[in-house]
Amino acid sequence: MEALSPTAILGSSLILGGVGLFFAALIAVTNRKFRVWEDPRIDAVAGLLPGANCGACGQPGCRAFAEQAVAGAMAPARCSVASPDVRAEIAEYLGVDVGQATQRVARLLCAGGTDVAPNRVEYHGLRTCKAAAAVSGGHKGCAWGCLGLGDCAVACTFDAIWMNEVGLPVVVPEKCTACGDCVRACPKDLFVVMPMEHKLLVQCKSLLEGEAAERLCRVACNGCGKCVVDAAPGVIEMKNGLAVIDYARNDLATPAATRRCPTGAIVWVEGAQPLSAAATRRFVPEVAA
């Protein structure tokens, strides 16, 4: 057979071998010129991260976090989305401590569910909080209150928010990664991301005082100032008819400040916020009666 002749075999192996040599030479040259080396551990760590790119760690994305972690500028624990196992695995892989991060959570500064803070008018149009807020401030009686159309719940990519039966968003602290999406989503600026240790909360943003405030919402802060007196000095201050907590003094805060609040606007929170109709009633004697 012609094709199997020794010359053919030799010839083709020479051709292909030659071609191979040629390209190897080419690659060797280019390789010498443009070599970029990147720490392979960045890829490895990025592969372990959840890939949510949520930004809760303060980095513009998971890969950026990985770069920082490999460089030693970020402790693995700073990723609040990854499970503890994964954090430990990254730490072990990099040979560093897992590190610590204070657990932070989104808190809603409004307790005015539809049971205590009625809607004033009917609203027709786009059913989102943002849109409703842009039409004469929305349908809620209280101009500062939650509109209950759930922009925050939709914005939360971690399913940490559910809308309860009185139309308030409830954050599940275990799921919340403190990414701050809900903060950005709310047109009424009702969410703040704060450390879990901040247990004293004023769940109201209404600037109205006294009767005017309470007419719109039975759990509004009416600016009576009792909490300011009951708390350690400097922890709470009245500003524009609203109690404002200075969290720099959080270590002095105690549940005592909530005791005499006539409306239940100020609360002491362990874990999830008490926002359901039943929970708000506890604070409002005349409703419970």
């Binding site: 004033r120 008018v121 027709h124 149009g125 786009l126 943002k130 849109a131 842009a134 039409v135 004469s136 401030g137 929305g138 349908h139 101009a143 950005r184 600037l207 109205l208 005017a212």
Partner: protein, 441 residues
């Protein structure tokens, strides 16, 4: 040359002006309280200069301008300052307002002349007097008039356009003003021309107000160059960019103001008010308001003290009907729906329209069927279809790239959309989102 006094696109909503077009203007009685929000104009809110408990007379300054783009506010009735605090504002928020308990027994007479006589004054003095009188544009935007009348050095104004279109359905404020106070309109024009040093003024009036066209024509002064042009009945003929295009065929460049094409546009009611201010010597403390709509028992054109509460005004018109559903400040195309009957009327409110349940648009929307009607309606040639779809997906930045800034929220697109998509609401939302959240870096 064949001249077309028109702009392209726009819509033809029903005019619905017959309810009040023939009703003469009358004065409304004072109510118990007037509420004067500190923000009644575009720009910085005024600064209060009275304290609770203080006695004020009609025309007294109760708040003074805070900065250049700001105007003072005057008591519209004699009485006692009850409170300065948060009060529902026509824009839906709570805003600081001065509440005055009206003195029932006061004759509500004007104080002696607060505004000087105009005849001997030069432009600068006139403008200062206008500023002190708290005059703002009465066409809706409530832009401080003295600012408009003092263009920067580097632009030259050659024409004043007087906006008598009143293209919104239902409203007849400007119409009645032109029919009943033509001399005031003429005088106002004369004063503004002197302020600006301009020799030409054109009054644009939609053809559906023949009596107004005739009256204004009949009273035209002969010593200055003022003309009247009838315009096609079309919404939004009265929007200033459209008006300039229709009357002068000048296209105001995107992001620029009428003055950049040498024009100042003033509403006829603003002109009449300027004249009135110099005439009576009182600052701007009352204005003409059309109260109309299927939901009001006795539609009327009223002279209303600034700060009168909506509830009192409706009562003065016989109250609302059974099926009244929505109360709108301004016209039905661009007006703001009100959630509180306690909101006061501010200077910029041209009318109060009470819509009946049958009139309000349906709640249900359909998906966009890409009919393109909105493109054919948009007077600034945007693509509301695309913008609307982007808005529903919250792609604000792409909306900006598609000229969202040029949208004047006229509502033509929403009006015409067969799928009832709230396009202009989406655009207002997008604009506020873009303002709230600067583009991510």
């Amino acid at each position: 040359m064949w001249s077309r006094l028109n702009f392209r696109h726009g819509v033809h909503p029903p005019e619905l002006k017959e309810l009040t077009a023939g009703i003469p203007i009358r004065r409304v009685p004072f109510a118990d309280e007037v509420v004067l929000p500190l923000r009644q104009h575009t720009g910085k809110p005024a600064r209060p200069v009275v304290r609770p408990g203080a006695r004020v007379e009609r025309g007294d300054t109760v708040a003074e301008a805070d900065g250049y783009v700001s105007t003072p506010i005057h008591a519209s009735a004699a009485g006692t300052v009850r409170d300065i605090g948060l009060w529902p504002h026509p824009d839906g928020s709570y805003a600081l307002a001065i509440r005055i308990a009206v003195d029932r027994y006061s004759p509500q007479a004007a104080r002696p002349r607060l505004v000087p006589d105009w005849t001997g004054l030069g432009p600068a003095e006139l403008i200062e007097a206008i500023r002190q009188a708290g005059v703002v544009g009465l066409g809706g935007a409530a832009f401080p008039t003295h600012v408009k009348l003092s263009p920067p050095q580097d632009v030259t104004i050659d024409t004043i356009l007087v906006n008598g279109c009143e293209c919104e359905p239902y409203l007849t404020t400007d119409h009645r003003t032109m029919v009943e106070y033509p001399e005031r309109v003429q005088l106002g024009i004369r004063i503004m021309m002197r302020c600006l040093g301009v020799s030409r003024a054109v009054v644009g009036i939609e053809r559906n107000k023949p009596d107004a066209i005739e009256t204004i024509r009949g009273t035209l002064p002969t010593d200055i160059d003022v003309t009247v042009e009838p315009l096609e009945v079309k919404y939004p003929q009265g929007a200033e960019k459209m008006l300039i295009e229709s009357l002068l065929h000048r296209e105001v460049p995107s992001g620029k103001l009428p003055m950049h094409v040498g024009v100042v546009v003033q509403n006829v009611a603003s002109a009449a008010t300027i004249a009135e201010v110099f005439d009576t010597g009182l600052p701007l403390i009352e204005r003409i308001v059309t109260v109309t709509g299927r939901g009001i028992r006795r539609p009327a054109n009223l002279i209303v003290p600034v700060g009168m509460k909506l509830r009192d005004l409706l009562d003065a018109c016989g109250g609302v009907t059974e099926d009244a559903k929505e109360v709108v400040f301004g016209g039905p195309m661009m007006g703001l729906a009100q959630a509180h009957l306690d909101t006061p009327l501010v200077k910029g409110i041209t009318g109060v329209v009470v819509l009946s349940g049958a009139e309000v648009k349906p709640q249900v929307s359909y998906p966009c069927i890409r009919c393109g009607h909105c493109l054919d309606a948009c007077p600034v040639f945007l693509n509301p279809q695309l913008l609307g779809q982007l808005a529903l997906k919250e792609r604000w930045n792409e909306m900006e790239a598609n000229h969202l800034v040029d949208c004047m929220l006229c509502g033509c697109c929403s009006y015409t959309c067969p799928s009832n998509i709230p396009l202009s609401q989406l655009f207002a939302l997008a604009k506020s989102e873009l303002r709230r959240r600067p583009a991510p870096i």
